[in-house]
């Protein structure tokens, strides 16, 4: 299908150490189409972080297939994965992960540095996205001079600047006050309305509410997948 962004089939991940094997994911399959806003929900230890790492091309599955935007990801080299992350995925982390002592503008420019974009182009694009996210007047502020919500907005601008096929958010509101969390979620919804595909990992039901579809994960398996609000509310209870 042309508009399938994520195609995951029979994905498993097993962590091994000397003593034991831990199955983090077993036989997970699902699709995400272009323009979807999916929340992946589950308690801690459910395997949702492992899933997010594999979806983010930060880690490789033990077995199974993962096609991201038409490209098979499961057997690539570390450098090729870096390229995939750079071009196709925009990350938004719980802890923002901005470079310390570095201005908002430079933070947003960073992915373009690795993509080899020219300096003028980098500055132009980074400014455009910071203005879009409402931080046009804070470009020269370093991360310590910004509030949590503002830092996360800088991170969103950074995630968008390479125009990725997938926006991958890991507990994006976990570290910020609830008022600002609403602002951040509003931005996600607006981005989704503009056509961006978003996958968000969370354990908070009211944050997951903002998504159009929720995938429930428990013990390394998908236990529910709903496009339906009533079903979602029922599952919550």
């Amino acid at each position: 299908m042309a508009d399938t962004i994520i195609q995951v089939s029979h994905l498993s991940k097993v962590y091994k150490n000397e003593a034991m094997e831990t199955v983090a994911l077993s036989d997970v399959s699902f699709h995400v189409h272009k323009g979807e806003f999916v929340a992946i929900m589950g308690p801690s230890g459910s395997g949702k972080s492992t899933l997010m790492h594999i979806l983010g091309a930060l880690d490789l599955p033990t077995s199974g297939e993962y096609i991201l935007d038409g490209e098979n990801v499961e057997k690539l080299s570390a450098d090729k994965l870096a390229e995939i992350r750079n071009k196709k995925i925009g990350f938004v982390f719980q802890a923002f992960n901005l470079l310390p002592r570095t201005t908002a503008l430079k933070n947003v420019m960073l992915p373009m540095v690795y993509a080899g974009v020219s300096k003028e182009e980098r500055v132009k694009k980074a400014k455009k996205y910071l203005e879009m996210i409402g931080l046009g007047d804070r470009m020269d502020h370093t991360s310590s001079q910004l509030s949590g919500g503002q830092q996360q907005r800088v991170a969103i601008a950074r995630a968008l600047v390479m125009n990725p096929a997938l926006l991958l958010a890991d507990e994006p509101t976990g570290n910020i006050a609830s008022v600002q969390a609403e602002e951040v979620m509003a931005i996600f919804q607006q981005l989704n309305n503009e056509g961006h595909t978003i996958v968000m990992i969370t354990h908070e039901p009211d944050i997951a509410e903002h998504a159009k579809r929720i995938i429930y994960v428990r013990d390394g398996k998908i236990t529910g997948d709903s496009h339906d609000h009533r079903q979602r509310i029922a599952a919550k209870k």
Binding site: H53, G56, L58, D59, A78, D79, A82, E83, R85, N86, K87, F91, F93, N97, L99, P100, R101, L110, P111, V113, Y114, A115, G116, R158
Partner: protein, 407 residues
């Protein structure tokens, strides 16, 4: 990813912790500084020794008694009595010897010299009138003794400036006064010009007397200590060496040159030996300095490892955003090379300054070679790569997940 980008980011990272950067650099500064200073001082010393040896006379070859072999059958030191004054005279007059300009026979001992209440232990050198010519010796007052003094074994003496100041006080003119060597009275007829030199090479602490006087009256011997031969030109040194050698062999009735009872060496041999000694010392000192450079390098490696650990999260983030291994490696290598390179340049300035000050202090000619500077800069860059390599590799191979999780 342009180089300017990498460089700017490395510079920024290093300027964040200035004290640590300065201390890490200091190790390299000291190492490179020590190497440059010691190599430069070694070269200065070598030059000084060379010029002193050359000041002993040019185109000079020296004949000393004793076998050339250093093997098991070498004669005892007391047997070194094989050269005679007649040997020296023969070299000058023999028709076989064409390349020799001048010959000086010498016999040297140490003895106690007194003048009035003062006394000194100095070198007594029995010589011929050819000595000043052969050894480039000039007189500051009076004159050197003549052939007549030698023929009649008269008791006259020419003294060096050091002896003058020891016996008569500095600046006084002893010409016409009397000195006593081993209870024999000698009248002073001249003072030599100072040639400088210290220790072994002090050419001012010396008393010259006619060689015949030294042999017959002072020491009671029939042999001489050495013969100095001046070749007509630099090109004829080897020819002179051969001619003198064959003449002495035939005079001593020795057919096999391998069993000669004398040795001949030229200025070049002495220079070569001296160079070998000074080079060995220079190499030894540089080796010690190089160890401090190694320690400096290990310091750099230590700091880079700390930096990599501290910036684990940053590395993880950069990798998540698409930085390839190559980029992470070049980022950290640029930092370590920048550290050592700046250290190398500062060390070069320090080493040059230090060797300048020391050479002024101990009165050596100051010399700094371009090659040692190039070496220092190259080595400091190389140390950056060598000791930055492991930390950079460590950073590049961090798993992005582990790195992002790192607290």
């Amino acid at each position: 990813m342009e180089f300017s980008e990498t460089f700017a980011s490395a510079f920024e990272a290093l300027s964040l912790n200035k004290l640590r950067t300065a201390l890490a650099t200091l190790g390299v500064v000291i190492g490179i500084g020590a190497v440059i200073a010691l190599v430069s001082l070694g070269q200065s010393g070598q030059k000084a020794v060379q010029s002193q040896i050359q000041s002993l006379g040019s185109n000079l070859i020296t004949v000393i008694p004793g076998a050339q072999t250093t093997g098991a059958v070498r004669q005892a030191a007391g047997g070194n009595t094989t050269l005679t004054f007649d040997d020296a005279k023969a070299i000058l007059v023999s028709p076989q010897v064409t390349s020799v300009a001048n010959v000086s026979a010498e016999l040297s001992r140490r003895a106690q010299v007194t003048a009035g209440r003062n006394n000194t232990n100095t070198q007594i050198l029995g010589a011929t009138p050819a000595y000043p010519e052969v050894r480039k010796l000039t007189m500051s007052s009076g004159s050197f003794f003549t052939q007549r003094d030698v023929d009649s074994a008269s008791k006259v003496a020419v003294v060096g400036p050091q002896v003058v100041s020891d016996l008569f006080g500095e600046g006084s003119n002893p010409v016409g006064q009397t000195i006593r060597i081993n209870r024999l009275s000698f009248s002073v007829i001249g003072v030599t010009t100072s040639k400088g030199g210290t220790g072994f090479l002090n050419q001012d602490d010396i008393v010259f007397i006619p060689i015949t006087t030294a042999q017959k009256q002072l020491f009671g011997v029939t042999y001489i200590g050495s013969i100095s031969v001046e070749a007509k030109s630099e090109k004829q040194i080897n020819q002179a060496r051969d001619e003198v050698g064959y003449l002495l062999l035939s005079r001593h009735r020795i057919s096999d040159p391998a069993s000669a009872d004398f040795s001949i060496f030229s200025q070049e041999d002495v220079l070569g030996a001296a160079n070998q000694i000074t080079s060995t010392f220079t190499a030894l000192l540089s080796g010690i300095a190089a160890i401090s450079l190694l320690v400096g390098g290990i310091g750099i490696m230590n700091i880079m490892l700390v930096t990599v650990t501290e910036r684990t999260r940053e590395i993880g983030l950069r990798k998540a955003l698409g930085a390839k291994k190559r980029w992470i490696i070049s980022q950290f290598l640029t930092e370590s090379v920048l550290l050592t390179f700046v250290g190398g340049i500062l060390g070069m300035i320090l080493g040059t300054g230090l060797s300048f000050i020391i050479s002024q202090f101990i009165k050596l000619p100051f010399s700094i070679s371009f090659s040692s500077i190039a070496l220092a800069v190259g080595v400091s860059g190389g140390i950056g790569i060598l000791f930055g390599w492991y930390p950079a590799q460590k950073a590049a191979h961090l798993s992005p997940i582990e790195a992002l999780r790192y607290e």
